[in-house]
């Protein structure tokens, strides 16, 4: 089931937020919308979720317009920057509430999925930020959505937790065969999680493509590597001229692995980047100089 966003326009007061936004999300893909703050990306998500009306344009899910369908009938759930759990309910009650039959059993299942199976009776304030975000994910999944919307859900988390949760959610979305739209200002995050990316600027789509397509051509994409579990800008990498098979980053030497695509440095040198799969599994991000 695909999502089609067609020619969306939205104005708040005198400010035009969306200027004819068009893109398509393929079934079971994670599609990232990347843009700076105020570019209109969250508004797109809110329109898809039914939390905001549109001035013109359409949102179609499986070729059916969602525009006049109320939020609770859309089978779309959203995960936001803050967990937004209902404070008067316990962890389990928050999840039970959204299940179709108000079933504790189902809620317990989803809490187990997010590895919080033993926290059903815990109060919300007893959980850490990361745990709250996982409960929020369990709640979003327990509603049995067809489309999961992720509105910068990792913004307030520390780097290690952020990376863990990014991987966790990506794997879970793939395992459950869901379709997801991720909104982020963070290109690294988009690259780590998404299959397709739409770049948006001042309410207009500037580029859409797979991560690989945008990797070499879109500014800012691919300009980083992951080493020892940390993301670093690629400009810090020095390619060894002598061996041709190692890179030096922060005075450490790394050997090359599988190739993904060519990356052109400003000085004209180019390197081959590893597969995204190795990146996803958290292996050392290895870089190989282009074979002559």
């Amino acid at each position: 089931m695909s999502l089609n966003v067609q020619n969306l326009y939205k104005q708040f007061g005198t400010k035009q937020i969306l200027n004819g936004v068009d893109f398509e999300v393929k079934p079971h893909d994670i599609h990232a919308i990347v843009g700076v703050s105020g570019s209109g990306k969250s508004t797109i998500l809110r329109i898809i979720a039914g939390l905001e009306s549109t001035d013109s344009g359409d949102v179609k899910w499986n070729h059916r317009s969602l525009i006049h369908i109320p939020a609770h009938k859309r089978r779309v759930t959203m995960l936001s920057q803050t967990a937004l759990l209902f404070p008067h309910l316990t962890v389990g009650e928050n999840v039970t509430l959204v299940t179709r039959e108000r079933s504790r059993k189902q809620a317990e299942h989803w809490l187990r999925v997010v590895q919080l199976g033993d926290r059903y009776d815990a109060e919300i304030h007893e959980l850490s930020g990361g745990e709250q975000q996982r409960v929020s994910l369990a709640r979003a999944l327990a509603a049995e959505p067809e489309l999961l919307l992720l509105d910068e859900p990792f913004t307030n988390l520390d780097p290690k937790l952020k990376l863990d949760l990014q991987r966790f959610i990506r794997d879970l979305v793939k395992e459950l065969n869901l379709t997801a739209v991720l909104v982020t200002h963070d290109r690294e995050e988009a690259m780590l999680m998404a299959d397709q990316v739409t770049l948006i600027d001042e309410g207009k789509v500037t580029r859409t493509g797979t991560v690989a397509e945008l990797y070499d051509t879109a500014p800012g994409f691919g300009d980083f590597v992951m080493l020892d579990g940390e993301l670093r800008p690629l400009s810090e990498v020095e390619v060894s001229e002598t061996t041709g098979v190692t890179v030096q980053l922060m005075k450490k030497i790394y050997r090359f692995g599988q190739c993904f695509g060519e990356y052109q440095f400003k000085d004209g040198r180019s390197v081959m980047l590893p597969t995204r799969e190795s990146y996803q599994t958290g292996m050392i991000y290895r870089i190989k100089r282009k074979e002559e």
Binding site: P70, F86, H88
Partner: protein
């Protein structure tokens, strides 16, 4: 410590002297109690309903009229209540509602509703639009019962109590619009002051204290029962 002591003194001084006089425990006009209870129930109900609806609309609307309506609704907060009284009197007199229970109810509604809307709006703003939006993925009945009611119950209780306290403080308004024909506990209290009947005045004073206190316990008990019952259904 001195500050806390001063605060306690200022809070309790008005009530200490109440124990120096013995109340008569005679209420001369039973209709005053009936009218007062009627006004509390009707005005609290209307205020809660109308203010929550209006605040909800103000919270969500993108209408260009939002600021104009906000300004109009909150205007009476900046104008003394007595200043609005004469205009109100003229309008109600035109409509033939002076000296009627409906007239008094309408006049009290006009003076209480801006405060209620302000309370409701601020309360909803504190809960926050993002959290309330999360509830929108729920079917409407579930949304109201399990999320909105528990989140708003304290707010609604505050509005009801605030309305009650304002209406119990309105002597001039009730006397003028009611033309002395609609007795309430407040008007009785003033008359007993005027007649220098300290025992009766004290009885009416205790009545004024008793109404909001009883309402508070009643609404709190109801809230606790409802929230426990609703949470029980999620177990």
């Amino acid at each position: 410590m001195i500050r806390q002591g001063l605060l306690i003194c200022l809070t309790f001084i008005p009530f200490i002297s109440l124990f120096f006089v013995v109340p008569t425990f005679e209420i001369e006009n039973n209709m005053a109690i009936v009218h007062t209870i009627g006004l509390i129930v009707i005005l609290s109900g209307i205020n809660v309903w109308l203010s929550m609806m209006c605040a909800w609309w103000l919270l969500w609307t993108d209408s260009r009229w939002k600021h104009v309506i906000e300004w109009l609704v909150f205007l009476p907060l900046f104008i003394p209540m007595l200043a609005t009284l004469f205009g109100l009197y003229l309008i109600l007199a035109e409509a033939g509602l002076i000296g009627t229970y409906v007239g008094v109810t309408l006049a009290l509604l006009v003076v209480t509703i801006p405060y209620s809307i302000r309370l409701a709006y601020n309360g909803m703003a504190v809960i926050g639009r993002p959290l309330l939006e999360q509830a929108r993925i729920l079917p409407s009945r579930r949304r109201v019962m399990y999320v909105l009611y528990p989140l708003f119950s304290r707010l609604m209780r505050t509005i009801a109590l605030f309305t009650t306290v304002i209406l119990l403080s309105q002597f001039a308004l009730i006397q003028l619009i009611g033309a002395g024909l609609i007795p309430t506990v407040t008007t009785e209290l003033y008359q007993s002051y005027a007649g220098n009947n300290r025992g009766l005045a004290l009885s009416n004073t205790w009545m004024l204290i008793l109404f909001p206190v009883l309402l508070y316990f009643l609404l709190s008990g109801w809230d606790r029962y409802m929230v426990r019952m609703l949470k029980g259904r999620l177990q």
